[in-house]
Symmetry: C2
Subunit: 266 residues, 2 copies
DNA sequence: CGCCAGTTTGATTTGTGTCAATAAGCGTGG
DNA sequence: CCACGCTTATTGACACAAATCAAACTGGCG
């Protein structure tokens, strides 16, 4: 088991050689901690993969899931182009997924919070279509996809859940497409804040006060805007009394007004 | 069989009542034509769903696929919010998929050509997340998803193919996200033309001469631009000798220059 | 033939990008 | 602990690509 755990890290490390970064170049060590976390006891199982499995099936799923030493901030989980082996569930922390454009720039395609699954874009080409990086110290469950495929042929509930997971990713990408295509800077920022707020609430965290794990650059990149525009959007919303912004610390003072700013009719 | 065929139409019709359109309000008639098309003889099987199935499996797949009277231009195939029952393969013609924004505008999320599959965004919520409309007379194969699910639990090849299909949709949406987020008007238009060209080539059609099935409005909507900007982009590329544009008739005169215009390095 | 939707072209406006400078946070080491 | 340097964030001035507004043109279809 420890062997396979380590393989994940090694894969991440070897692929990221050309993306210079202190934490990446540090050698990966196997660590002696035990990662005794089970889906059954995981607070997130309600919103994560295990959803809708009976305890026998859950045990089988449990057996193929690989848990490992947490990723440090800025560490790479997987790199685009690397052989696709697993999809990943975020257990704690926060991740960003991004792909590199033909001219070498980065496009952030999503932020992932605890209970959410990433890496499913790698299935079609047997290679990851996007990279994933830790925005803060993050614990990840790696789920080998070939095992998952075999299991899901035996468990109709799991198969269905997987199809739904992939389909949900499509609809979420479509929402982002619409956001980029039709909405102003302020609307985009407001929409992102509402999305984070909603996802926090789903995990029993505050919907009105939270710390953004990503930088303004990442937000701008994700929303198709520049850092300056993001900063100005925050300032405007603060001035109009919708938000209190203290660097990455956000407080939503007026949820309805924020929805209005996002152009979502009440 | 005819009953189920008709049900598809009725579903499309009833849901589209508030989107006024002549062809939609016309009553659907059952028709007497036989639609004897099999996956086995279909020219598109190489790029469509049946890919990588043996002939026994193919026969079973064949049995669940519903073929029907072609859709006329502007006819609705499915409407967002309608109960999700099938995914759809385009056999001939061309379709556009779109979703309606909260403020009632339309966002085109994709164009679909023969051999391509649409409607997979409906899986996660058991309701279609987007609508699909015929851009020209189009023949469609409807594949009931519950049957497909059951079959794919029995056929590992089919299951894998479905996962890949969904995953490919995700990567394509990510490409569109990147395009909208990072590229200029001309680059977006050039990229769309190259995409259509490539997809034509895959169907053994000309990669350099084709007729666009969609309007300038649809193109603009898809690319997050206005009609005027699309028109000007075409004019510019025509003037610079990259294209010959005659209304919807397009000829690519210089493929390399078009790739350059799309910001794709040679 | 004439109408109307779709397309093209021109003039002007505007939201966001770019460039520049300052300020604030944060880890590092003296 | 504070000082230092580096990264990240904010704010302002200006430029520019695309939107908007307006008008003419085209082509398909009844």
């Amino acid at each position: 088991m420890l062997y396979t755990l380590q393989r994940i890290y090694v894969q991440g490390e070897t692929m990221s050689g050309h993306l210079q970064n202190l934490s990446e170049t540090a050698p990966f060590r196997s660590c002696n901690h035990e990662f005794k976390v089970s889906c059954e006891t995981c607070r997130l199982s309600r919103i994560c993969l295990p959803l809708a499995l009976n305890s026998t099936d859950l045990e089988q799923l449990e057996n193929i899931i690989q848990r490992s030493k947490p990723l440090q901030k800025n560490e790479l989980l997987c790199h685009e182009g690397a052989p696709f082996q697993s999809i990943y569930a975020v257990r704690s922390g926060a991740m960003k997924a991004y792909r590199t454009t033909s001219d070498g720039r980065e496009q952030v395609t999503g932020f992932y919070f605890p209970g959410e699954i990433l890496g499913m874009d790698g299935i079609s080409e047997s290679a990851h279509a996007s990279s994933a990086r830790a925005l803060e110290t993050s614990a990840i469950c790696a789920i080998p996809f070939d095992s998952l495929e075999k299991l899901s042929a035996l468990m109709p509930g799991l198969q269905r859940h997987l199809f739904q997971l992939l389909s949900r990713e499509i609809t979420e990408d479509q929402l982002l497409i619409t956001l980029l295509s039709k909405n102003s800077a302020d609307e985009r920022v407001a929409t992102l804040l509402l999305s984070i707020s909603r996802r926090n609430a789903r995990r029993q965290l505050s919907a009105s006060q939270f710390r953004l794990p990503m930088s303004r650059v990442d937000i701008g990149n994700y929303l198709g805007l520049t850092v300056e525009t993001i900063s100005r959007a925050f300032s405007r919303m603060q001035k109009s009394g919708i938000l209190r912004v203290d660097n990455k610390e956000i407080e939503i003072l007026n949820h309805e007004a924020l929805q209005l700013a996002a152009n979502i009719p009440a």
